[in-house]
């Protein structure tokens, strides 16, 4: 037995050595590729920031932080401020999330629950992926031609009839404006919200769900106190990605928001968003200050995205921290 083993062992180190050499060189190659890819991301981000900030410098030095609080945007007199489009960007994205979050989460819970209505799940998943694949310009065109008259004639009068006492739903509706833009954004981020939430809900261990049910909890109680708390971090991630898409969406919003530099409490009013201003005015902007102000808007948009991400991360960290403390 020992001889036999010895006979078999003798060649093994040789084979292993060559194999190991091959593996090590493969490892090295893989490491180079992986590090290179990671480095490339940093490089791209750095180039992106430099390419955005450098052309914005004339406007940054001229307007400074006052850019964030001024609502004047006058290319004739070279006076620029970002308050109106910042407001519009935040308001439309907020509306989008208010619409997409409950619908998206509901649909995700339905799709992730493998117990009932098996037949519907396949077609529904397919439709959601289809919706995600529709180019934003097509959604924008649909909104421009179909949604705006519908909002003007039906939805907005209905809302102002029911909720007209709120300043949010006061004033005459043209069909264009914050509400329509927010609704379009909500539709556009819905597929992201659904697909990501569905996947994290599916990742909740089966044992947890079954244990909860076995303890006598109803389906609703299980969802509320087991599945959702477990999937919370992932769902927050889905919301963040949706928000990122909503903040940066350009074409579809430009078609329905009305492109007016104003701040209004009413959601029926027309407004502007940061990407829309850039898309509208970039091609014909002349002069360093005007062009710089458009780049500055880009910087503002990146800053907003960073702030939102950091806030969300803090929120997750706090939530999971307190959850652990409670446990």
């Amino acid at each position: 037995m020992s001889r036999g083993t010895a006979e078999r062992v003798v060649p093994t180190p040789l084979v292993a050595a060559s194999r190991q050499r091959r593996l090590v060189s493969g490892d090295r190659l893989f490491r180079v590729i992986a590090y290179g890819a990671a480095g490339l991301i940093i490089l791209i981000a750095a180039i992106f920031v430099i390419a955005l900030v450098v052309p914005a410098l004339p406007a940054i030095t001229k307007f400074g932080l006052g850019f964030f609080t001024s609502r004047v945007w006058d290319p004739v007199r070279n006076q620029f401020g970002a308050l109106a489009p910042i407001y519009g960007t935040l308001v439309t994205s907020a509306i989008a999330l208010v619409i997409a979050f409950p619908i998206g989460l509901g649909a995700a819970l339905f799709l992730a629950d493998d117990a009932r209505l098996q037949l519907l799940r396949g077609p529904l998943s397919f439709l959601i992926e289809l919706l995600a694949g529709i180019p934003s310009v097509v959604i924008g065109l649909w909104a421009f031609f179909t949604l705006t008259p519908l909002m003007r004639d039906k939805v907005d009068p209905f809302l102002s009839h029911i909720l007209g006492f709120l300043p949010l739903f006061k004033g005459t509706a043209s069909g264009y404006g914050f509400l329509t833009a927010g609704l379009v954004l909500g539709i556009m981020v819905l597929p992201i919200m659904i697909a990501l939430s569905r996947d994290v809900i599916r990742a909740v261990p089966r044992e947890l769900r079954e244990a909860s049910l076995a303890l006598g909890a109803t389906n609703a109680e299980t969802t509320w106190s087991v599945i959702l708390p477990y999937a919370r971090v992932g769902i927050t991630g889905a919301v963040l990605l949706s928000l990122g898409r909503a903040l940066g969406e350009t074409i579809a919003v430009t078609m329905v928001i009305g492109n007016t530099m104003q701040i209004s409490a009413s959601l029926f009013a027309t407004g502007y968003t940061l990407p829309s201003v850039i898309a509208n005015e970039f091609t014909e902007a002349n002069g360093n200050l005007y062009l710089g102000s458009l780049f500055y808007l880009g910087v503002v948009l990146v800053l907003i995205t960073i702030v939102v991400n950091v806030l969300a991360r803090l929120l997750i960290w706090r939530f999971s921290g307190s959850a652990r403390a409670a446990a």
Binding site: V72, W73, D74, P75, V76, R77, F144, F145, T148, P149, R152, T172, S174, G175, Y176, T254, M255, G258, N259, T260, M261, T270, S276, A279, N280, E281, F282, T283, E284, A285, N286, G287
Partner: protein, 370 residues
């Protein structure tokens, strides 16, 4: 692989031979003007204004049919893009609805480095959406137009509008103003007009490719303004005439400088342009023109090229194309609802083109217009 390559190269040479044959055919055709030499083979790149793009597309296609050895590409990215692309020398010619100003010329190497020629002439309409008021029925004066766009006239039953429109029943309906949201030459010409006829507009808003609008909502491009007006009851907006005709919109009759009401037309633009004999890249405004038939909101569109062409062959093809564009090519402007350039402008253009040189020698060898 080798055999495939060989086959390909044989194919290519046959193709080339075929092309060469057709070249000599068209080049020698009697349509070539006497004294105009056949342009050399070249591919010309241009970019810029969207407003004249339908005309440039029709014209470059016709030119290529005439001289198949010359292809002209035009990418309508906007006037600003036209100017910056020319300045960076990534195109052979740029196009803009507003000529390059002193600052832009300095960036491009000085006022003497660039030749700017007027290429076509267009006019704008005020399109509206009022049920029961047919096209041409609504009469607008400079005063009411300024009032509507300043926001001082808010309702269609405003006494100022009623006074000019006796016999037309204007509804009690809020006016929805629609303007361009993107920077555009169309906006420049319209705000130039408003600044000319209204002191209030001039002091409060001014003129530019983008301005700070007192009222109304913005839509991106002529098409979107046209569509927004069409689907919003009570709306009014300024739109390029070509779009108004193509989409059958109702447009207002506009009071011109002489006090007569005209419906904007290509002829009206030519009439307006003929009132201004000395047009050049610094004095180019033709809005609010005198004359009984002048369309009040009209303007030229411009092409820019470098005076000193580095590539002689390309430069020769370029000036030949532009010479054709401002003369024979003008017929294609009318087809797409732009106006023919007046004779004096064509003459100025040719004189300008004759100053284009390469290595010190003039590239355009046509007789100087008298």
């Amino acid at each position: 692989m080798k055999r495939v390559l060989a086959a390909l190269s044989v194919g290519a040479s046959i193709l080339l031979a075929a092309c060469g044959g057709s070249n000599t055919g068209t080049g020698g055709s009697p349509s070539a003007t006497a004294g105009t030499p056949v342009p050399p083979a070249a591919a010309l790149q241009g970019t810029g204004a969207t407003f004249p793009a339908p005309f440039y597309d029709a014209a470059r296609f016709a030119y290529n049919l005439k001289y198949s050895q010359v292809t002209v590409n035009y990418n309508p990215l906007g006037s600003g893009a036209g100017i910056s692309a020319l300045t960076k020398k990534v195109v052979d010619f740029g196009a803009s609805d507003v000529p390059m100003n002193a600052t832009e010329l300095t960036a491009a190497g000085g006022a003497d480095a660039v030749v700017q020629i007027a290429s076509t002439l267009g006019t704008e309409s005020l399109a509206y959406n009022l049920s029961g008021v047919a096209s041409g029925q609504l009469k607008l004066t400079p005063k009411t137009i300024a009032g509507i766009f300043l926001g001082t006239i808010k309702n269609w039953n405003d006494p100022a509008l009623a006074a000019d429109n006796r016999g037309v029943s204007l509804p009690n309906q809020a006016i929805s103003v629609v303007h361009r949201s993107d920077g555009s030459g169309t906006t420049y010409i319209f705000t130039d007009y408003l600044s000319t006829v209204s002191a209030d507009w001039k002091s409060k808003v001014g003129k530019g490719k983008s301005v700070s609008w007192p009222v109304g909502q913005g839509a991106k491009g002529n098409e979107a303004v046209a569509t927004t007006v069409k689907q919003t009851p009570g709306a009014i907006g300024y739109v390029e005439l070509a779009y108004v005709i193509q989409t059958n919109m109702t447009q207002a009759s506009l009071q011109n400088h002489d006090g007569s009401f005209v419906i904007p037309s290509p002829e009206g633009a030519t009439a307006a342009a003929s009132q201004f004999l000395a047009i050049n890249p610094t004095q180019f405004s033709i809005v609010d023109a005198p004359g009984k038939t002048s369309a009040p909101i009209s303007g030229y569109s411009w092409l820019m090229l470098y005076k000193d062409q580095a590539d002689k062959t390309k430069g020769t093809a370029l000036v030949d194309y532009l010479d054709w564009l401002v003369t024979d090519g003008q017929q294609y402007a009318v087809n797409v609802h732009y106006s023919k350039l007046p004779a004096n402008i064509v003459k100025d253009d040719i004189i300008s083109l004759k100053t284009v040189t390469s290595g010190g020698s003039t590239l355009l060898n046509v007789p100087a217009p008298s």
